[in-house]
């Protein structure tokens, strides 16, 4: 029946498919390469630091995918190339919003629309939500100190997962199921798109900026420390750029609203929840976005309202794409049933 010798039979006397079909000889090469990649990544993280800038992340994901797709059919590589192009366009568009937020949107070169920077709006909303208190200030007053304690390490680590978790989820889905990758990327891109639009239309100063008079505006909050990476350093992890503030200076500083940190921290658990059967495990995953928002507020990176809006956008993106995907299934089924 096959080139393989003596195929075994099932209890019903049928041939086992896995034994009559010639094996995919590249399978174990792929597994080996992916395992070496995982080991290499951990070593790199320890020795050189966490890759957080777009180029380093793109290279690390690219290497993983090269390893994971070794020996796959040419067409699969073609699909991967198209996917990678979409991914790059998405990030480039995201980076471009910095220019628009800083310099305004030029309309056919005739005039420029520049949206006003929000200095106090989010602070006022937070104060209204917390009965006159500033959550960033209250948390730092109670927990921030000159020495790094365990909660600083936890907050910093949770903050840093933003640069790894969604990308890792995407890379794994890319390998495991292209269909699920497409589902994930639709939701992810929707968050990014809405985030980009809001960064331009509603440029918002984060708490650490509002709490300082160095940015050409009066200080509207008591002092707030900004040092999101010190707990991570204390754990022995260095920044890949060796100077995290250099990496940050390339980002959009007035992109507080909405918080993509909070959005992505909800996106990943929400996406993977459907495969977890134990209810308590499923719902406990939602503690992660709560921990992320608490960390963001404690570290002075975001207002509470930034995170809440980020969560609403995530839930909205899920609702929209769930509805859209059901519509596509209905339409395809209707072609048969008439």
């Amino acid at each position: 029946m096959s080139t393989l010798e003596a195929p075994t039979f099932t209890a019903q006397g049928r041939w086992r498919l896995g034994e009559v079909v010639p094996p995919d000889e590249w399978r174990y090469v792929r597994y080996g390469l992916m395992a070496s990649y995982a080991a290499m990544y951990v070593w790199w993280l320890r020795e050189r630091g966490l890759p957080i800038d777009r180029i380093s992340v793109a290279i690390s994901v690219g290497v993983f995918l090269l390893f994971a797709f070794v020996g796959r059919p040419l067409r699969t590589w073609g699909i991967l190339a198209v996917d990678a192009a979409i991914y790059c366009v998405m990030w480039t568009a995201y980076e471009r919003t910095r220019d628009y937020a800083d310099n305004g949107v030029s309309v056919f070169g005739l005039f420029t629309i520049k949206f006003p920077l929000q200095w106090s709006t989010m602070r006022d909303i937070d104060r209204a939500l917390f009965l006159g208190n500033d959550p960033n200030v209250v948390l730092q007053e109670h927990f921030w100190g000159p020495t790094v304690r365990w909660w600083d390490k936890a907050a910093s680590t949770i903050y840093m997962t933003h640069f790894v978790l969604p990308i890792a989820a995407m890379a794994v889905l890319w390998v495991v199921s292209h269909r699920q990758w497409a589902r994930f990327i639709k939701r992810f891109a929707t968050l990014l798109l809405i985030g980009c639009i809001m960064f331009v239309v509603l440029p918002t100063a984060p708490p650490w900026m509002v709490a300082s008079s160095r940015f050409g505006h009066e200080q509207l909050l008591p002092h707030v420390d900004r040092n999101a990476w010190r707990g991570f350093y204390a754990l022995g992890f260095k920044g890949f750029t060796h100077d995290y503030s250099v990496a940050l200076s390339k980002g959009n500083a007035v992109a507080a609203m909405p918080s993509l940190h909070a959005s992505f921290a909800l996106l990943v658990p929400l996406f993977f929840m459907q495969w977890i059967t134990q209810r308590w495990v499923r719902w406990s995953l939602l503690l992660f976005p709560v921990a992320m928002l608490t960390s963001l507020v404690y570290l002075g990176e975001h207002w509470v309202i930034d995170g809440l809006v980020g969560w609403c956008i995530t839930v909205g993106a899920f609702w929209f794409w769930d509805w859209q995907e059901q519509r596509v299934r209905d339409r395809r089924a209707a072609q048969v049933t008439g």
């Binding site: 029946m1 080139t3 049928r14 498919l17 009559v20 079909v21 010639p22 199921s177 299934r329 395809r332």
Partner: protein
């Protein structure tokens, strides 16, 4: 663990019976297919077919969401699959049948919708045809 719903392969013999109204088993195949389509609509299963079989019935890439096979996604055959099919010795030698088995194995398909009796010799679940209300 698979992240996707289980895939059901719509095999060539079933496709031909489905698309040709004069086929002796057209009615029962269509009834069974309608049940599968309903399961697809509820996202309980995914319907797939070997790309060669879809090409044989004239489906082009731009027609993938029209007609009776609209819910069916193609499992695209690559050169490595054809090479593997050429190595397989089925009795009687039939590279197309071998190719279907290869696509089932490589894409982890464990259920097949077919009226070809040869599949009964392999450990795949066959969708019972003709149990539907006719």
């Amino acid at each position: 663990m698979s992240l996707d719903p289980p895939q059901v392969l719509v095999e060539r013999s079933a496709i031909e019976a489905l698309l040709h109204a004069d086929h002796p088993r057209h009615g029962e195949v269509r009834n069974t297919y309608l049940q599968l389509v309903e399961q697809y609509r509820l996202e309980e299963i995914l319907l797939v077919a070997v790309s060669d079989d879809l090409a044989l019935v004239g489906r082009r890439w731009y027609e993938r969401r029209t007609g009776d096979l609209a819910p069916v996604d193609a499992l695209t055959v690559g050169k490595q699959h054809r090479r593997a099919a050429a190595q397989m010795l089925t009795e009687p030698h039939d590279p197309e049948f071998a190719l279907t088995l290869i696509m089932c194995e490589r894409h982890k398909v464990r259920r097949v919708f077919t009226i070809d009796d040869r599949f009964a010799a392999y450990d795949v679940d066959l969708v019972p045809v003709g149990d539907a209300d006719s």
